[in-house]
Amino acid sequence: MLSLLWGAILCCISTASAAQWTPLARDEVHDPASPALRMLQEPAQALSTLPRDSAGNQVDWMRALNEGKIAPRAKLNAEAPIRLREDDILLNLRGGLPIVRFPHRSHTQWLDCSNCHEHIFKSKVGANRLSMSAILQGEQCGVCHGAVSFPLTECARCHNTPRGKK
């Protein structure tokens, strides 16, 4: 009896996870009449094998990268620079929420310095006036977070360092 119950629960969970990613024909972006839908990869096929996240598009992209589940090419041109930076920057030092520890490493595993500097963020520590309002309107961190990286509902992922314990 108990095993039946577990079976039913597991079945529900697996159905829920299979239904997590909307098929292209029903995503309301693709035209269901497009002949491409017979050829394009379905999100569920690609994403269901990757480490799970509880937010965004349900994929933990950093774990996927660090665990080698995906190996995205870093460059097309052999001469293109790959610049990794390891340091963390502490932000929001005078705000009310926990301090933001910004990890350069996880960002430079995907992005080039020039994607953020100098037009979005100045390279000088303290020279950027960050604002949650601006971020929520798609400026600053909000250029990516909420669109292609974990959404702004996940406050504690950025506001992750208690005050007084720097």
């Binding site: 995503d27 598009n57 669109a147």
Partner: protein
């Protein structure tokens, strides 16, 4: 300070509610600058598909795509010349530009922006 916090909360609430967002993988860019007028389906660019295969820097640094939907004016002639999408969509790395339907697969009439359930009002701004 309180007013600013209130504004941030209101913006967050609006972002969470996201009324009318089509259910799609977040960060699908729909590009319909000229498609409707030209009588072809608009282009769907799925970020999730591309990031499995390429790091952000490849398109947003090497290929020169600015990180704001709508700020890149890409013409088919550019693609045929090997610029922008054409750096890969050349029948060598990925399907070539003669496979019109594979990129031009969006719903006709949809406005250009980023689609998906987790966007704020900002990144998808045109």
């Amino acid at each position: 300070m309180n007013a600013r916090r209130l504004a941030a909360c209101a913006a967050l609430a609006a972002a969470l509610a996201a009324p009318g967002s089509p259910r799609a993988e977040y960060a699908d860019v729909l590009i319909n600058k000229r498609s409707d007028a030209a009588g072809v389906r608009p282009v769907v660019f799925p970020h999730w598909f591309h990031r499995i295969r390429f790091q952000c820097r490849v398109c947003h640094n090497e290929l020169g795509f600015k990180m704001r939907a709508g700020s890149n004016d890409v013409l088919m002639a550019d693609i045929a010349d090997g610029k922008f999408c054409g750096m890969c969509h050349n029948d060598e790395i990925a399907w070539g530009a003669e496979n019109c339907d594979l990129c031009h697969s969006g719903k006709p009439g949809l406005p250009s922006r980023i689609y998906g359930g987790h966007q704020t009002s900002g990144p998808g701004r045109w």
